[in-house]
């Protein structure tokens, strides 16, 4: 298993860095939580399993000292995007990449087990997660309870890394599958889509968990969702204001969203907010053949232009 390899890699880099960001067991069997390793003794607290879902890279831009970090393939896209936008110094980051065959969506597991308290969790060798509850064990195929992003994952092996804990894996998922869900949703009528978003966004409590967990939401403390100068949105709890906030989040991520799914994972009200950003990504791919977080030398499409845009046709009235 990769756990030992991850531990080895951390032990190797620890003398060179201030801290290594990885995972430890959280408050129950289903949850992991970040672990910041500073001394070798702390390495024992590390865990590595398909519950290590959180995209830890969002801590990177705010850390000034040299750090090590453990990343999955999808997480590495954030680092690539940070590099494109000049938000981190590559010299100050030591990346331990771990090839990944898919993680577990805690929300999906909870749905499967009827939101019962979890007594313990184990993984078997056949790609299953075994969840112990007071009503007995439930064995679930990880493939059935993985986040949507894993089902179409193109980058199981990190794109950038200094150490690779494990052998590289190639994706066996068709490229066209990535945006299939967006295409299907778009086939609904305008009224259906409007009703869908009204119902979903009405649940929003404006806790901004989606924003604060988002690795690419770099304005953070200066977010226009909270400022009065400029005064974009009010504190009223209307659908209009909730809708506006999510449009702000989506539009500010245009051509930048690495589809890590953190916004959706952390939403306490289970709103599918990642869909909005993924839709824009679909268009970015179509318009500019651009995919965020893949090429360290790339340029986000909204940061540049072509004098002659091949795919943008003038709109007729």
């Amino acid at each position: 298993m990769s756990t030992e390899k991850v531990k080895e890699a951390i032990a190797k880099i620890l003398p060179d860095v201030e801290t290594v960001i990885c995972y430890q067991q959280g408050f129950d069997g289903l949850h992991t939580t970040p672990l910041f390793i500073k001394i070798p003794e702390e390495i024992n607290g590390l865990i590595w399993n398909p519950l290590c879902v959180q995209n830890l890279t969002s801590y990177l831009p705010s850390i000034k000292k040299k750090v090590g970090i453990v990343v999955k393939g999808c997480d590495s896209r954030t680092i690539v995007q940070y590099l494109q936008e000049g938000l981190i110094d590559r010299e100050k980051i030591v990346i331990i990449g771990v090839p990944c065959t898919g993680v577990v969506s805690v929300k999906k597991v909870l749905r499967e087990i009827g939101h019962q308290p979890v007594a313990g969790v184990a993984f078997d060798d056949n790609g299953n997660i075994v969840v112990k509850t007071s009503k007995g064990d439930r064995t679930l195929a990880i493939a059935d309870v993985c986040p949507d992003k894993c089902a179409t994952c193109q980058y199981p092996t990190p794109i950038v890394y200094d150490y690779l804990a494990g052998d590289p894996i190639k994706s066996d998922k068709p490229k066209e599958s990535v945006h299939e869900d967006i295409r299907q949703f778009d086939e609904k009528t305008l009224e259906e889509k409007k009703a869908y978003w009204e119902k979903e966004l009405e649940k929003c409590i404006r806790c901004y968990a989606c924003r604060n967990a988002c690795p690419m939401c770099i304005c953070q403390d200066s977010c226009i969702a909270e400022t009065r100068e400029p005064h974009w949105i009010s504190q009223k709890l209307s659908l209009t204001e909730k809708f506006m906030f999510h449009m702000i989040h989506a539009v500010h991520l245009a051509g930048r969203c690495v589809e890590c799914g953190e916004c959706e994972r952390v939403c306490p009200m289970d709103i599918p907010v990642a869909k909005l950003k993924k839709k824009i990504n679909t268009e970015m791919k179509e318009l500019f053949n651009y995919e965020p977080g893949v090429d360290p030398d790339g340029k986000p499409p909204m940061y540049t232009f072509n004098v002659d845009e091949v795919k943008i046709k003038e709109h007729k009235l």
């Binding site: 409590i205 806790c207 968990a209 924003r211 504190q235």
Partner: protein
């Protein structure tokens, strides 16, 4: 009239319809995978088998409410002169919170000390509180992260409830707590509860056993040394992303903002929930911020609940142990673990663990 009641399961909806005749009945409803308190209506799907994602606090303390409306008016005689008219409305309809959990109800008692038992009571909160009947449902088993027994509550703790239901095989045993709660025993669907009393008590005792107390003792003793040690906080909450999920889902968090909105000379002053975890919360116009870092804000949040509030209100802890801030934290920050480490016994444990390491 008997002291207790019993509501057969098949009559629950009838009972809610009866309550809805002269009040808006808020009940936990299922929307997708999310459980939310919604005004009861026939097409909604009720969900009583787990605590709601968000507590019913917004029923009595809305996330956003108008304090007053204002309108600028031109003086008909002198167009240079403007006058202002203010209109405040504190009227609210009768409301019922149905099948909230005991911790949710207990949360309101924490607000009561702040908003009602003061020399400047809050008329909006007070009216809503007085007009609301709270019928709770005792918990059969703890949810992930629950720790109500550690903060003086419990799965069948009655403080804050007007009446409490306990689920039995075919129905709900009902115990009135307040005068308001007694009145519901008069409803025609309610049968005599006394044959079920013993079973209900057994169920409640069993549920109590199942909840963990992360603090070991009944009386929390926070170490002032640790509490005032910045390094402790930096270490404990370095993973916090400083969002408002914990505060907005908390049945005992009440900090708020007041803002004005206007268009064309008309507008309103709004009071809305705010979160002490946000940078903007304490940001001053001069750009000075007394709590600029995440750990300072987190310290204030824990401090408010476990140190400052108890200082002001005779030892009462401003936390009901519902566990939502743990369950829904984006990075699984565990407040019960942090507070437990802050206690004098927790401190000793850490020290022994630390010396063993060396």
């Amino acid at each position: 009239m008997p002291d207790t009641g019993y509501l057969p399961k098949e009559k629950v909806k009838d009972f809610m319809r009866e309550l809805a005749k002269d009040a808006v009945v808020y009940a936990p409803c299922l929307e997708g995978d999310t459980v939310i308190f919604r005004p009861f209506s026939e097409e909604r799907t009720l969900c009583f088998d787990r605590p709601a994602n968000s507590p019913p606090k917004s029923v009595i303390y809305p996330q956003s409410e108008q304090l007053f409306a204002f309108e600028y008016k031109k003086d008909p005689e002198d167009h240079q002169k403007m006058s202002v008219e203010l209109k405040a409305d504190t009227n609210v309809p009768g409301m019922v919170i149905f099948a909230a959990r005991p911790c949710d109800a207990r949360g309101f008692t924490i607000y009561d000390r702040v908003f009602i038992d003061t020399d400047t009571p809050d008329p909006y909160y007070k009216k809503r509180r007085e007009n609301t009947l709270i019928v709770t449902l005792s918990c059969a088993e703890p949810s992930p992260g629950c720790f109500c027994v550690g903060v003086g509550g419990g799965p069948a703790h009655k403080e804050g409830s007007d009446a409490m239901m306990t689920e039995l095989e075919g129905g709900y045993f009902i115990e009135p707590v307040s005068e308001k709660g007694k009145a519901i025993l008069n409803k025609s669907m309610i049968e005599d509860g006394s044959p079920y009393l013993q079973k209900a008590q057994e169920a409640q005792a069993k549920a109590h056993e199942a909840v963990k107390n992360p603090f070991e003792t009944d009386k929390l003793k926070i170490s002032q040394d640790l509490f005032n040690n910045d390094a402790f906080w930096e270490e404990a909450v370095s993973k916090c992303v400083s969002c408002g999920a914990c505060t907005y889902l908390c049945p005992t968090c009440y900090c708020f903002n007041i803002t004005d909105e206007q268009a064309s000379g008309k507008g309103e002053r709004i009071r809305s929930w705010d979160a002490c975890m946000f940078f903007h919360f304490t940001l001053e116009a001069s750009t000075h911020n007394p709590r600029p870092t995440r750990f300072q804000r987190f310290k204030n949040r824990v401090g408010h609940k476990f140190v400052y509030y108890p200082e002001k209100y005779d030892g009462a802890i401003a936390c009901c142990g519902c566990g939502r801030c743990i369950r829904y934290c984006p990075v699984s920050v565990d407040i019960s673990e942090i507070v437990s480490n802050l206690t004098e016994s927790g401190q000793k444990q850490q020290q022994t663990a630390g010396s063993a390491k060396k």
